[in-house]
Symmetry: C2
């Protein structure tokens, strides 16, 4: 089957669900989606042995590649669905968790009375009021492309179904055996449900992806999850919007008035909690005051003690001269200009001394990737309005990254931690959805305009003239009357 066929089939399945579920109210439609998710969970549980066998084949083949140095051990552990206790169970639990989330669909987010009703005049019948509702709806067909972890197939399928979308999934070639069985379970479950079988489909080859990225007639959004190189190549090729992030070049800035303990503990967490995560910091900006306050030295000792290699600008390195042991000194090097544009994803940190919050902001504007940036400064007081010129204020207003944090670790930039239950991914884009994206990022809205009364609602009636109607443009209670 060609990529075009897959894409058209996905669009047809999407249209079919829209029609199918349109006979129900919103609650009944959500119930049908929940039921399909329960079928998926059951199908996965039933096929556990088969999935495990397929997963073991993937792991075995990957291990051969590790042996010849063609694959990292890390990747094998990401592939393996069964060795780590609880991983398989938590994948299953994820399906149920998504099913239980409130439906993101059919939510009225704005209601406006465009015009009041008018009595019959002359040849014109009485017209009722004209009311406009903005109501959330699915986006349509999603193309999701990801790398090693086979459970992402199940996660994304669940999210797509819950949000009323169709999905085409493509996993990494390393997980192909697992992906094939997982996908078959999903298809079988969909066949048993009320939803169309082709609502979720998988494709295997890279060539198909190339072709699908040009099927903007049928595919509405691409969600890549994986390496920088993967995301960048998809951004280049795709003819439809892409949601995701290539780089996570996060920075922490330690302002002049930051308390030492707060700064040190937060920076350590931001760097060390999970160094290969996209929300770990890669750049540290320190206010010049801390060259003499001692904070920078304390912070450097703590980072070096944890094995972090510091790529220091001249000024930050000069500060440390004479204060370091030989072992520590071996972890300090001179920063190259490229270091400030590098996502290390490892125990490396680029360090630069700056003279002000403005200089920190400028550095981040020039080098950041719009993911998450942090200022560490004098503690805020709860509820108190900070003055417009505090460093925290300038920083949060000036930095246009998707997440801007005051006195908190960059590691909080995460859908679960933000309270979204689950996450589609983190987006550094500047349209549609940004930061950690939950189910809300998989829906959009449509406008429903409803007239009541017997008379026609014509735009012409609002044109200047004897019986010209007037606009009212008045907010209504946010209630969508058909739900």
């Amino acid at each position: 089957m060609s990529a075009t066929d897959v894409a058209r089939q996905a669009r047809e399945a999407f249209d079919e669900t829209q029609t199918l579920l349109s006979m129900r109210g919103s609650e009944q439609a959500d119930a049908a989606r929940v039921k399909a998710l329960e079928c998926i969970r059951a199908a996965l549980e039933q096929a556990r042995d088969e999935i495990q066998a397929a997963n073991q084949r993937d792991v075995a083949e990957a291990n051969e590649l590790v042996a010849v140095g063609k694959l990292s051990k890390q990747l094998v552990s990401r592939l393996d669905l069964f060795s780590k206790p609880g991983k398989w169970e938590s994948m299953l639990q994820g399906v149920s968790d998504v099913a239980r989330l409130p439906s993101p669909l059919d939510v009225c987010t704005r209601a406006t009375r465009l015009a009041d009703g008018e009595p019959a005049t002359g040849a014109r019948a009485a017209t009722g009021p004209l009311d406009l509702y903005r109501v959330t709806c699915p986006i349509g067909v999603l193309l999701c492309i990801f790398e090693a972890r086979p459970e992402v197939i199940v996660n994304i399928a669940s999210l797509a179904i819950k949000s009323g979308n169709a999905a085409i999934l493509k996993g990494g070639k390393e997980s192909k055996h697992s992906a094939a069985v997982l996908s078959r379970c999903i298809s079988t479950a969909l066949e048993q449900s009320e939803l169309p079988r082709y609502l979720v489909q998988s494709v295997q080859s890279r060539d198909e992806i190339q072709a699908l990225l040009h099927e903007e007639r049928y595919i509405d959004m691409v969600i890549p999850r994986g390496s920088n190189a993967l995301v960048k190549s998809i951004r280049q090729e795709a003819r439809m919007p892409v949601m995701g992030h290539a780089d996570g070049l996060c920075a922490a800035y330690v302002h002049e008035d930051a308390p030492e303990r707060l700064a040190v503990e937060t920076v350590l967490d931001a760097k060390l909690d999970y160094p290969s995560a996209c929300n770990a910091i890669e750049t540290l900006l320190v206010h010049r005051h801390h060259c003499t306050s001692g904070l920078w030295c304390t912070l450097a000792h703590a980072l070096l003690a944890a094995g972090v290699r510091l790529h220091c600008d001249d000024e930050s390195r000069a500060c440390l001269d004479g204060a370091l042991s030989d072992a520590e000194r071996s972890l300090v090097c001179a920063a190259t200009p490229e270091d400030f544009d590098t996502e290390f994803l490892d125990l490396d940190l680029a360090v630069r001394i700056v003279g002000s919050v403005d200089e920190a902001v400028q550095h981040i504007q020039q080098h950041g990737s719009g993911h998450t940036d942090v200022i560490l400064c004098k503690p805020l007081h709860e509820g108190a309005a900070t003055p417009g010129t505090s460093a925290a204020d300038i920083f949060t207003r000036s930095i246009s990254s998707s997440s801007v944090f005051v006195n908190a670790s960059s590691r909080f930039a995460d859908g679960f931690r933000f309270g979204y239950g689950t996450e589609v991914g983190i987006s550094t884009g500047r349209t549609h959805a940004r930061g950690p994206v939950g189910l809300e990022g998989l829906v959009i809205y449509k406008y429903v305009l409803r007239s009541s009364g017997d008379g026609a609602q014509t735009a012409g009636a609002f044109a200047p003239g004897e019986h010209q109607r007037a606009w009212s443009h008045r907010a209504l209670d946010n209630v969508y009357p058909t739900l």
Copy 2:
């Protein structure tokens, strides 16, 4: 100056405004933007003679092209800023109107307490609560590409400034003299304001556009306004999200239970109020019942009397046989398959008989462009919940176009009529913003996470362990404390 320079300059100007205005509160920042808009209006008023002279040159050159059949007369009237009474004044008034709209920026749309504060324990200082705010912010740099109307430069510049964005504008070559003077006025006004001069820039050549469409480093969104061909070519080339619409293939469906007068009056308005508008209907679907009810004949007579050429399927044409005068008959032809995929933008209408609302829905799903579709049916009663299986319900739930109307003309799909004051354009996309897009479509949001209290906020503190902190994920009142 190269396209890259223009794009980089725009990004720098954007970053500069973010920093510049960050010293103020939200109200002061909006005041600075309003003041810049007032400067623009004053600069335009002052340069009226010069603008008029430039505009006359454009009109004269266009008229030469009209004389040799290379340009339509319509286009000349769109070019002409001064002949039609009130056009110039309404362009100026538009600047003031946009200035007066409520600021779309710094609006907190969600506030969550991620975790409550914790007292000091062991080596850990007391931490205050950790609060997450989702706050609206500008998108960044917009590239706006449009055709003839020179006043669009002023409209879009106003909208971009009010919403905190930077803009690069490219008008049609027909309006080049007018555009040059208008742009210069805007730049001069910006120089006199507190905003950076390069916040709004213009480019002239097509080649520059090609290059700019690849500057995804600096440009965040493209807004094309113009012909189908223009929008399609931009969609193909752009590496950044595109907001707009290529086709406006709108349909009206007359259901079995639609009252005749309501249906006829609404369809006439939808087709005739402004036939070359994107929200005029191009397709009419009529329930088979109306072949015998007489409604279709009445409607056809009314359309033909207004000079509409009907491209009829066999069934709808057979109905009219014997009922038409010779003059009427000359306006009726057999529909080709392409007619149902054609945006006529003229007094042409493709007509098809369908057997049910489902068949109408399927037709629209296959042939529509996602702009605006209308159902005409039994009048709804105000406030009453319609049963889940009414035709209106099935239609509004099944059709995933950006605007779906019940008993109202498609011509209401318009930013002004929707009550948005002004419109950036109409989007048929399925992400970010859809339908008539007002200032809200030019903003996005960022997450601001704020800790209070002296202790560090680390993700590690929430990991399983003795002093594990708990998530609270509780909604806060939507108040952003720094505003």
